[in-house]
Subunit: 150 residues, 6 copies
Amino acid sequence: MHTRTMYFQDYEIGTGRESFGRTITETDFVVHAGHTGDFFPHHMDAEFCKAQEFGQRIAHGTMVFAIGVGLTAHEINPVAFSYGYERLRFVRPVHIGDTIRSRTTIVRKEDDPRRLDRGRVFEKLEVLNQHDQVVLAAEHIYLVEKKEQQ
Amino acid sequence: MHTRTMYFQDYEIGTGRESFGRTITETDFVVHAGHTGDFFPHHMDAEFCKAQEFGQRIAHGTMVFAIGVGLTAHEINPVAFSYGYERLRFVRPVHIGDTIRSRTTIVRKEDDPRRLDRGRVFEKLEVLNQHDQVVLAAEHIYLVEKKEQQ
Amino acid sequence: MHTRTMYFQDYEIGTGRESFGRTITETDFVVHAGHTGDFFPHHMDAEFCKAQEFGQRIAHGTMVFAIGVGLTAHEINPVAFSYGYERLRFVRPVHIGDTIRSRTTIVRKEDDPRRLDRGRVFEKLEVLNQHDQVVLAAEHIYLVEKKEQQ
Amino acid sequence: MHTRTMYFQDYEIGTGRESFGRTITETDFVVHAGHTGDFFPHHMDAEFCKAQEFGQRIAHGTMVFAIGVGLTAHEINPVAFSYGYERLRFVRPVHIGDTIRSRTTIVRKEDDPRRLDRGRVFEKLEVLNQHDQVVLAAEHIYLVEKKEQQ
Amino acid sequence: MHTRTMYFQDYEIGTGRESFGRTITETDFVVHAGHTGDFFPHHMDAEFCKAQEFGQRIAHGTMVFAIGVGLTAHEINPVAFSYGYERLRFVRPVHIGDTIRSRTTIVRKEDDPRRLDRGRVFEKLEVLNQHDQVVLAAEHIYLVEKKEQQ
Amino acid sequence: MHTRTMYFQDYEIGTGRESFGRTITETDFVVHAGHTGDFFPHHMDAEFCKAQEFGQRIAHGTMVFAIGVGLTAHEINPVAFSYGYERLRFVRPVHIGDTIRSRTTIVRKEDDPRRLDRGRVFEKLEVLNQHDQVVLAAEHIYLVEKKEQQ
């Protein structure tokens, strides 16, 4: 974790980064259920899941999202602010023992409709499993200050 | 938590629900940092935060989202599947000691472009604090089976 | 979780409910030991347990009780108060990987010896495993307000 | 934690022990809710509690019981088995910041109705707060082997 | 856990103690990573570890140390203070499922160079696995009050 | 977290790094006690601590060490291995609400007595509080491969 100041002009379309991997454990399932209060049997009841489509417990979508985002938390940009996410999609299930990693790519930039001194940077987030399959995708929107033009 | 089968046709625009409240504690901050690996000083360093805009630690956006969604996890609909989210926005900061609750409203329904036997149901999610201010908003998309027409 | 007001007169002997299931994980063992400070080798030392009667780690009785009770926490009755438990029995061991669920049944009602305006409702709690065997039993005593008679 | 073999004959009525203290924290509330799935607002919603009898969050009864029992987990007796509890009572509320400790006293012994080679030992458990008030009481029943008589 | 007052003079070289065992679980790995913020793939990424020397995840050294020390926390000596550690060595890796225990031995005593009324007691700590192999070693230094000489 | 290969020759005496800060919370105290099993009243009993030297709970030494080390876990060097620590000292108490950060400095290098192809690098670790006081100090020993000389 370190600080790097990047203005709107500094972001280049197509650049990106891939995180280290992290094995999703049964512990993560239990922690996320307890943290959020969502004890749905799809996540917590191995017997129930035997009769379901995937035959085993599936990770909470919010957990894959939160850990996937957390894997990218490496750099603090003091002139960027997280505005929100678009197109968050749960593409494939994540099971106990899967290893996920996150890939981010700058895909689009646009002026902010309300403020001249900043713009919007769109960063694609893809969470991948150990088979290189996308399990979750989303688009992260940052509000980023513009460097003053001289 | 209970099971209730609701087909596409059963969802009515404008209906909704409000959850119980939950006070967001320093513990939740620490648990979420440890769960996701995001130890950014904005969430974890009270000294650093004194010099920032809000003067105190602010909750991870992914935590407000995950707990906000968890507060709505009351009913299992076996014919509905979570497809994803749109327009996820971090509207206001959540601080240690704030009490949040979730309000959901069915706002839109449309046919699925790819499958005749199901449709998309859009549920607005608003997470509110103890001052009735929206702190997070999103639109949850469900894929829901259609009741067979006779 | 929702609110439903039920007076003493509203409880009917023989009615009850069965919860969703929850798989008890090694994580739950570790969390409960850390939460309570009870690190007895019967719960925490797989090597020690190989030489014991059951050949594997057994769940803390207080954990099966706390989770078993938690599985029934679905409905808030504002006119009922938990008074205590009788006949709490650890009937069979729970091991890592077992899936438990809770069944509650109203079994008895009696006037409160000290206050005319409320009575005692006895609810039998049975925690069952995936083989439908009772692993824990207890009787929960509620103090419940009486509806005013006209 | 150590091992000490005590047969039925070795228990003396009136003997007992008092544990170290432990301050019950907001963390314990959050951990217990997450561990058991019981997120009732009485334990988790500080705003809701302001309008209730005690004006603040109250600890889960199952947590006071589990931690109270855990505080006594100091000695392994290989010839004693926990059979269950009687008269578990939630006497006073426990709030965030209270410091509890446990006092145990051997109060009764009786032959086991079904097996000649063991008896029942009844140990009173009292959980006290920092004002020396009993907050929880129960009677723990042990099945203990008898020393062979010569 | 109990209190026992032991002055500098009371410690005898060669005396010691061996703790109960504790199985190190995947949960402990996840808890320690989340507690410390160290998510290095050597501890957290099972796929990465397949290609490494040991073929599987290895415990954080700080975790083996912290749990190893914790296993010895049985007795409070009000006249002894922990001063620090020397020669902390990570001798062998600890993997998920290993069962560790701690052995402590008083190995040396010396006067405190700065204060006449206390001395230094050196206690060797060895953490062993289920194969009786030392996995971690260290020397714990206590500052201990001297009994007044008459 | 990223990978950077640094051989023995690449380390320069006097270079170093300072981490971000992290506020030590009551949650960390409770998590560490539960993780290690050390529930000594010095860490867990606020009432007991009122009568002690510092008047309040003090952090486990092993926690300050583990978190202090964790704060430095930013860079993976594939040719360096952690050998152990010397001179670990608990210099000042850490209390709930203190904010700590870690400073590391390369202080010494020497050949490995047993293997020609690697050397020992000594890195000083200092954990500082919000008043810039050292609370913990230690010397971390790395075994680092030597670049082949041509």
